[in-house]
Symmetry: C2
Amino acid sequence: SQNSLSPSRKPSKSGSSKGGKLILKTAKGTRDYHPAEMAVRRTVFDKIKSVFHMHGAVEIETPVFELKEVLTGKYGEDSKLIYDLEDQGGELLSLRYDLTVPFARYVAQNKIDNISRYHIARVYRRDNPAITRGRYREFYQCDFDIAGAYDLMLPDAECLQVIHQVLASLDLGLFTIKVNHRKLLDGLFGACGVPIEKFRSICSAVDKLDKSSWCEVRAEMIGEKGLDEAVADRIGEYVKLNGKQDLLNTLKNDDRLKTNEDAQAGIEELELLLQYTSLLQCDANLLIDMSLARGLDYYTGVIYEAILQEGQVPQQQQESDNSKKKSKKDEEDDGGTVGSVAGGGRYDNLVGMFDPKKRTVPCVGVSFGIERLFAIQERKLKLQDRKLRSRLTSVYVAGVCKGMLHHRLTLCALLHEAEISAETSRKINPKFLTQLQYAEENGIPLVVTIGDSEVSEGVVNVRNTSTRQEEKVPRDQLIQHLKQLLPQL
Amino acid sequence: SQNSLSPSRKPSKSGSSKGGKLILKTAKGTRDYHPAEMAVRRTVFDKIKSVFHMHGAVEIETPVFELKEVLTGKYGEDSKLIYDLEDQGGELLSLRYDLTVPFARYVAQNKIDNISRYHIARVYRRDNPAITRGRYREFYQCDFDIAGAYDLMLPDAECLQVIHQVLASLDLGLFTIKVNHRKLLDGLFGACGVPIEKFRSICSAVDKLDKSSWCEVRAEMIGEKGLDEAVADRIGEYVKLNGKQDLLNTLKNDDRLKTNEDAQAGIEELELLLQYTSLLQCDANLLIDMSLARGLDYYTGVIYEAILQEGQVPQQQQESDNSKKKSKKDEEDDGGTVGSVAGGGRYDNLVGMFDPKKRTVPCVGVSFGIERLFAIQERKLKLQDRKLRSRLTSVYVAGVCKGMLHHRLTLCALLHEAEISAETSRKINPKFLTQLQYAEENGIPLVVTIGDSEVSEGVVNVRNTSTRQEEKVPRDQLIQHLKQLLPQL
C-alpha cells in the first residue's frame, strides 16, 4: 500500500502502544451515537420517511462496500478521499462515498427501468473534517431519487416538492430552494466565450460563489483556469442574477443568450419547472439563482440546493472557517454550503456508465444533509430546554418494602402481556426512594407501587410521576385502569 | 499490504478487466436488499424493537469500523475473518465483526455504570459463507444487552424473557430456549478430570454436539485435544442430559458434582433463573441442556440459544451441509446451529478488557439471528401467497383523458396537504388503462379519476381498486370522503 513506509505506521499512532495501554477511542472522524441522540435521529428519520412514502417511494439497501472499480472515475479529484479495504486476497473493495453511485450501479445491475427509491445510510470520506462544526468521516446521507424515462420536468418538480415538504415538516423556519440548470450554465459559458473544454472547471469556480466573493472567483478563473478577463467579466454579469419568471424573461431576451440553443433549452425547462411547482404548491420558496453550480460533474440538467435562512441555523453550524482548506465536494453532497440542508439535481448519464450496453436510465434526486438537520433539531430542543425520551417505558413497578421481588416480576409479566412497557429494579430489595427517583429521572409517567398491605388487600397504588398523586386500584382492574390512563399522559 | 504481490491483485479479479468491461456485481458475500425485502425487514425490526422498548431499552449506534486494536484478541482464531481497511496513512482500522465488542468498548470509553441498550446493524466477516443457505459476509445483527451490577440472575432472566417475547411476537411456532451455565460446565469438566488448561478447548468440542454425534466429538476430545478416554466417557454421560428442576436436582446430588464448588454455584444460579423466568411467564419453552456450550470464549455465566422446532424452518434454512467446513463461531453469533435463531449469555469480563483501570461492568445479552428471521418471514409470506406492500401509497390520481396534468398535480398537492399519500403518472398524457393497471399492480387501494366532464361538474370519481366500484364525489368533499374511506380498506 501507498503509505506502508510512512512514519504514521507506528503503532503509537494506530490507537495503542506496545506497552499494552489501549487508547480508548473511536476511529478519527467517527463517533458513537448516544441514546438521546438516537431519539432525535428517530424523529427526524420518521418525518422524512413519511414524506418519501407520501410519494410512493420504496426503500432499498446496498452493501457498505463496493468493488473499487464501481467507484473509480466517478468523483474526480475527491477519489483520494475513498476508504479502500486492505487486499486480503480476493476482490479490491472500497467503502461507499455516497449513495448515488451505488444507486446507479443497482439500477444498471438489476436492469431496472424505473424506480422511486429512498436510501438512508452512512457514507465514508477520508477527509480532514472540521469535527467541531459537526462534520465527520462517517456520516448519514438520506437520498430520494426518481429513475425512469418520464416527461420533461415532472420528476424534477416532484423532487423540489419533496424538499419543500421535508423542510416544512421539520419546522425549520424560513428556507430558500435555489435552482439552476446545467444547460443554461453551459449555454451561458459558451455565449460568454468560455472554450468548451473549460466548461466544467469554470463551473467549479462559479460553484464557490456561495463562500467566496466574486473577486476571488474571478481571480481563480483568470489566474488558475486561464480565462480571458473579458470573458470572466461577462460571466460576472450573469452570476449575480436571481429571480423567478422575471429572470427567465430577461434571460430569454438577452442578446447573448437568445441565440444560444443550450441556454434557451435550459430556460424553457426552468419555465416548465416553475409552472409544475406552482401547481404542486411548493414554489413559494423557490429562487432561480445563476450563481448555483453544484460541484459534481455528473449533473446534466436541473440542479438545486436548499438553504436555511440565517439566524435559524445553530451558531455552531454557521461558523465559517476560511483559513482551512475544505473539500468543496464534501460540503456539497453533505448538504452544500453553510446553512445548506439539501441538494441534488438531474443526472441522466450515470446509470449508462454501468450498463454493458450503455443503456441509460435518466435520474433525478435529492440528498438531505441529515447530520445538519439532526444538529439543528438537537439545538432547538436544547433552546426549548426539552429532552426527547430515549426510553419509552410507560410504567415502573416499585416495591414499597422488602420482599416484593416476586410481586414485582409478576406485575411486569402481566403488564407486558397487555403490551404495556414496564420496568422494575433488577435488585432484590431496592430502596423505595431510589425506585421513584429512577422513574422521575427517566420520565416514566406512571409508577405502580406494591407493599405488604397492598398484597393483603389485593390492590396496587398507581402513582403519577409528575403530579405525585396516587390512587389505589384493585389488581384485577389494573390493566384496564392503565389502558385508560396512559393515553392521557 | 500482505498480499500486494499475490496474483489475486490482478484487475481481472477485482471486478473489471482493462478492456473497460465492468463486471456488474456486488462484492462477494454481499447483496442488495430490494424493496419487497426491505418491507419484510421493516416489519420484523418493528416487532423486535417494540419488545426492546417494552423493557426500557435505549438505542445506540457505533461506527462501522473500530481501531484494529479494539478487535484484537477478542475472537480467537476467527480473527482471520476480520476485514481490515487499507493503511492509507493514519490509524489502522477494521470493520466490526460483531456488536458485542464495540458495545464493551462503548461502555468502557463512556464510563457507563449501567445501560440496557439495543443495537441493530450490519457486521462483517471475511468468511466463505454458504450463500445459498442465506449466509453472507455482510449481515445484520440485532443485539439487546444489559450492562450493570445487579442482583444474581435478574438481568439474565430478563434476557430470556426478551427472547421469549420476540419469538412469540414473530409467530414462529414452537421453539425451545436451551440454557446452560459456564460454571456448571467448568465444574463438570473439573469433576470429570479435564486438566484446567483444557477447559476452553473441551468446551469448544462439546459445542459441536449440535451438529456432530457424540462419537465424533469424543474422537476430537481424545485425538485432537489429547483427553483420556475415561475422562471423555465421563463427560459423555453428562452432556446427554437435559431437563428443568428435575435435572438440577439430579446434578445437585450427583456424586461427582456435589462437592464441586463451581458446579454447585452454577446449579444454584440456574435454579434461581428457573424461578424468575417462571414469575416472568417465559419458562414454558426453557430447557436446561448440558450439551449447550456456545463457542465464544468470553462467556462467564449463563448461556442460551433459541431453536425453532423442525418443520417450521424453511427448507432452505434447514439444510445441513456437513461436507463443507464452516466457521463454528460464525454460526454461533449469527444465531447458532441449524434452526437456531437467537443466542447469548453472560460476559462479565469483556468491559474490563477495555478499561485502563480494569474496572469492569458485568454484562448479559442476546443476539438475534435476524437474517434467518427475515428468511423465515419471507418464506411464510410466500407459502401464504402474500406480499407485503413495499410502497405505501393510498391514492393514485388518474386522468381519464388528455390534458388532465394540471388537475392531477393540483389534486396530488391537495391530498399531500391533507397527509394522504398520493401518486400520479409522471407523463403528460398517460393512457387511462395504464394508470389503472399501475394502481392494481402496486396495490394502491383507491384511484381518484378526473376527466373533462368531472372538471366541468366540479367532481372526481373515487374508484376502489379491488372492487372496481366507483362513486362521484364533489371536489370540495374529497378529503373528508377519503379520510373516512381509507381506514376501512
